[in-house]
Amino acid sequence: MSARTTHPAILRITHWVGAAAMITMILSGWAIYDASPLLPFIIPPGLTLGGWLGAGIAWHISAMWVLMADGLVYLAWGFVSRHFARAFLPITLGAVLHDLAGALTFRLAHDSDRYNAVQRLLYLLVVAAGVLLVLTGLSIWKPVQFGTLTWCFGGYDIARRMHFALMCCVVAFLLIHVTLVALVPKTLRAMVLGSARP
């Protein structure tokens, strides 16, 4: 790894494969949601993937294999290479509040070599949300075969609501994440080519 590399290749590949799989899961999940909405509105069918329940499910249970495989590679690499420990830790409440105040007043400079405390918190949360999305998803897909898992989440109905709420969290993350990338475009270069600087 050259000294200039911000993101190693495995991180960039799992990031983009995971992003594509997650977006596919969200859009097809919306088609499934529309068949029996939990809230008093539906997602416009034009925004969903598949357009109807059967196709939404087909996309959902196709992309889930990609998301799970990608997630497992990312998590295994993150732990074994100590990437998680180096990039995300330590994370303290004081640092988060300090950096959050800086970010909201546009006084937090972006450091390409080191995540600030707000980034650490958001990335940790979205990874946790992704893991919980897969687990709640498995428990509503197989509430009999994975009955213990479903029971851990409080049963089928609660697991289903958690699955929906976690999707909302990931969508919120995506909005913040994409906005921040638009504000600091060199981060996009780093995630595509590996380095923020040419």
Binding site: G46, L49, L53, G54, I57, A58, S62, K142, P143
Partner: protein, 245 residues
Amino acid sequence: MIRLADHRTQLRRLERRHFLRRGLSLGALTMLTGCDLSTHDGFFDRILWAMLRFDDRVQAALFNPHRLAATFRPDQITRPFKFNAYYPISQVKPPPSDWRLEVDGLITDNTPWTLDRLRGLPQEAQITRHICVEGWSQIGQWSGVPLKIFLQHIGADLRARYVAFDCFDDYASSIDMASALHPQTILALDFEQSPLSPPWGAPVRLRIPTKLGFKNPKYISTITVTNDYTGGYWEDQGYDWFSGS
């Protein structure tokens, strides 16, 4: 005189509308190009149909014949229980006056069954969660003949791959033999301790809590034991065939 300044907001609004419509038709485009299971030769549709078959195999491998669906107490039963079919409740038909349960395929005894004869077989009761493919669920109470006992009585080849159901409301479905032999899979005759009434599938329906609701056909007229895949009403349109819980 027409001044541009007077119409700028209006123009901007039109532009925005045009942009939105193009965005929406992009969504419509994805439907036209076959990524919604409407075709069998579109690029994405071929992948999706193949993935559905793959998921069926995974689900069959995950199926544990000894694992039971959770059961509930009588006070947990959902009331009122929601009617569901591919048509509204107003179109429910009572059973034909000459109704008999026909049996066909890889079996040794083709004699049709009357309701009385079915009631003469051992009965099993259950309070289980019925989960719809749409996501909603409700807890109900059914009792009837375990399908395994029924299949043994008609001399079915229990090594056959499928048990198929045809219904007098033109519905159809089929299940794998392993799920058919599961102890909680019953030919239900009663709902909430009374004989099935027309909305709940009179006179006989399948109750299989290890599969999604649409795999629980009502109004059964013929049961066929077969090695040939017969799909079903929803399965042919793209709901995944195994749909195990």
